[in-house]
Homo-oligomer: 274 residues x 2
């Protein structure tokens, strides 16, 4: 559900938040975005999200308003939202309308406030299954709007009773279609560092784990899944979800690992005080 939307600084209500059908975001897939959320109705780690959005926009040569303007709009949308709980804020920049079907002239910048779609409670308690899938995103460090591989494999996930696809390429584990991936080998926390999108929840987890665990950011070989003692994924709406199975391999005793549960608690404490 769309709560409010802001286009070119003008506030609009659902059904009025529209873009022209010849926007390059629509006809040529030229768009980058970011997605942050509130805790206690305050935007979470907004500076980190804006830094990543700017980096994505730069990669596609799309100009953004300055941070002060964006922050003002985000806070104003939260203030105007009549939804009582926490919300998600989508910041989308596209190539804008085009005279000839390909040239960028005036990019469109859109901010929308949306109801958060949270995972069901049982996934946090019982953990999830992932299935590996060979795929490297076209621009892995850029949060583009291209989710074709994720969407067209929804049936594959359902058939295999999996919660997410775990992408890998050239023998290395990368990320899921919308989340970062971590493993524990006993008390060593390991997460990929190349050819992935750098998640903000990933960053927070690394901050919270510093000093408590040995940390390695490095390539994870696909075979290493078979030696890990715990695993989890991280994301803005999903926070931290334990992984208890990858393909046919059961991780640990098939229940969320003890270190993972500790990190989930640290994270919950961190956002409670936000």
């Amino acid at each position: 559900m769309l709560i409010h939307a802001n286009i070119y600084g003008e506030y609009r209500y659902p059904g009025q938040a529209m873009l022209p059908v010849n926007d390059l975001g629509l006809i040529r897939g030229l768009g980058v975005f970011d997605y942050l959320r509130t805790y206690n109705r305050k935007p979470f780690r907004m500076d980190d999200y804006l830094e990543r959005l700017r980096s994505s926009a730069d990669a596609l040569l799309l100009p953004l308003p300055n941070d002060t303007e964006i922050k003002f709009v985000v806070k104003e949308l939260i203030r105007r939202s009549d939804y009582p709980g926490d919300i998600g804020i989508r910041l989308l920049i596209t190539g804008g309308t085009t005279p000839d079907g390909i040239s960028v002239t005036k990019p469109s910048f859109i901010v929308t406030a949306e109801k958060l779609f949270l995972p069901p409670a049982d996934v946090f308690l019982n953990g999830i299954k992932l299935i590996t899938f060979e795929f490297l995103r076209e621009l892995p460090q850029v949060k583009t709007t291209n989710y074709l591989t994720a969407i067209r494999n929804v049936k594959l996930k359902e058939q295999q009773n999996a919660y997410e696809l775990l992408y890998h390429k050239n023998g290395n584990i990368l990320e899921t279609s919308r989340n970062n991936f971590f493993i524990f080998k006993e008390n060593k926390l390991i997460t990929p560092k190349n050819n992935i999108l750098f998640g903000i929840t990933r960053k927070v987890v690394l901050e919270l784990a510093a000093g408590k665990y040995e940390i390695e950011e490095r390539e994870i070989k696909t075979e290493e899944i078979n030696d890990c003692t715990e695993a989890f994924i991280t994301g803005t709406t999903k926070k931290i979800i334990p992984v208890v199975q990858v393909n046919d391999f059961i991780i640990g005793d098939g229940k969320p690992g003890a270190n993972t549960v500790k990190i989930m608690r640290h994270f919950d404490d961190y956002v409670k005080g936000w």
Copy 2:
């Protein structure tokens, strides 16, 4: 310039042809399209374009209206267009608005009539330069809306004074970012047949060349560029454009080849009588 647009069977004028900002075509790049044109104000080879659109839509599980309905809308848009010359018709199907940011519920189908942006006359007379670029599209046989690689390399083309990028992967020449590619080796006409979008102009050229030239549809190794005597690209708006240079290699005497010019004439005769 957008002339008319049709959304859900309702005719709209420029500025009123809009889609909601939470359409999956915009926020998740979930869209396929096709683009046909008129000659003598009649749609050219519409059955071929509709067949390809249906094949693209099927690949992403997006349902389309039936051909009779689509043809009615296309003809009605041409009739209503007050632009005197030939026009382009874009048929776009997207995932539609989404309640949760990822699930497809009701796809959007949009037909727009646009002014044709034709290449400058000198490219037909003098030919163009291509530069090779290593890239394989994510779903090469599907006409998705993802043109990120094409758009973000516009500067590279300008710097190298090239008209288009010629994609290649694993040692094989594929296609340009929006067109099919052909070479002649003397009187043998050769064009790639794997990992490409099957162009309608490509198909017409193969029909027109049948019986006049020996034809090979097969993999073209990148090295083969250095033995070709002629080359050209094909596309809906570009028709047939001679290629006289690939990277630093000058093809033939650096002018459009004799066989290419003949095929261009056959094509012009064919569309004149359309």
